[in-house]
Symmetry: C2
């Protein structure tokens, strides 16, 4: 299987480029907000908390997870810089949001956010557009979880991260992947062992190279 064929069947998120013009409107709402820092593993919000704020990710990576009864975890999504976290929450947040590494973000009260969106004919469609993109992303994950094999899942994740890292000129060749095996496993619906074996295999076959921990080159 080629790496390319493992890529998602769905359009990549279109809002990962920092100065994405059509999205500037919504992101602009955060421009007066102070920057907040979150350390590795720190919670931005918890599953079921009253959804009081929305968050613009400025730097770093945030993961959103559902915890199951048996204690296992499923990541429902990752959020990248330039994206808005906490949108698809009506009364309460859906899942735990945690900083993967060091994260910088801006917070905006939901009231103010909704008010701004509701009163602007320009912002409203953008808001809907973001929600739809979250849905599209969720669908892509369902396909991945329902039908893809371990190797496809891992490649899919690597490519997604590479695409995001190579901000605007295509996938970067060498990328920083600050995600532990556990996180990858919980995102991909696999065990750490399976992820580890798959990575080893990809390296052995020369599909990817590992220069340092968390640093890879994709062919």
């Amino acid at each position: 299987m080629s790496v390319a064929s493992a890529a998602s069947h769905f359009p990549a998120r279109l809002h990962i480029i920092p100065n994405d013009q059509p999205k500037a409107g919504l992101l602009g709402l955060f421009s007066q907000q102070p920057l907040e820092m979150f350390g590795r593993g720190q919670a931005v919000f918890r599953d079921g908390d009253p959804a009081m704020h929305v968050f613009k990710i400025v730097n770093g990576l945030v993961r959103v997870a559902k915890i199951l009864n048996d204690g296992s975890r499923v990541f429902t999504d990752f959020f990248y810089p330039g994206e808005i976290l906490g949108l698809a929450a009506d009364e309460r947040y859906l899942g735990d949001a945690e900083a993967v590494g060091e994260v910088q973000l801006c917070r905006l009260s939901r009231n103010r956010f909704q008010q701004a969106v509701d009163s602007s004919d320009q912002l409203r469609p953008q808001f809907v557009n973001w929600l739809c993109q979250e849905t599209a992303s969720a669908q892509a994950r369902m396909v991945l979880l329902a039908r893809k094999k371990a190797e496809e899942r891992v490649c899919d994740l690597l490519l997604t991260l590479a695409r995001r890292a190579g901000n605007n000129n295509g996938p970067a060749s060498e990328i920083e992947i600050p995600i532990s095996r556990i996180d990858m496993a919980d995102y991909l619906g696999l065990t750490i062992e399976t992820v580890s074996r798959t990575m080893t295999n990809l390296i052995r076959r020369g599909v990817i190279q590992s220069s340092a921990r968390y640093r890879f080159t994709i062919r």
Copy 2:
């Protein structure tokens, strides 16, 4: 494993009760629309089609699927009577929507729908609320696909359908399940054989009983 423990960790959809008061507003928009009929397997819309309409399901069951390159299918969601289909589509529909059995629905142009939503302070939050429920439903499916075993998946589906069938007084004991094994498999991320074996097993163990094809009693 008990059937109950296989139930979703997330709140059931709250909008499956026909006369759900808080939702009346949005559903009311369809009141002047003519009823359309769709036969078993007929497409309501196709993946990638321009999203010109939204649909209120009046009767029957609609499935939404993504088709993969290799031809296999993944159902991203089912839509029940009293629900609105096609909401989470910005420019184009996300997935193929098909009638499972005979389906009756009303159609409303997206323009009119958006206009009504945009201009009503009452409707707007309902609209957002529906979108968020779709997201919640998507998350529940991710958990199911990522971590649950075949038997849990099947029980989860049966309970969801039972809950929906027993309109307001709890799960019905005997329910009509008009869904083929193929559909179940594509919804659950399994093969027909695995679904079949699991069903046989549940019947053998007395967890469910089968009175006729597509008719079951759950203990």
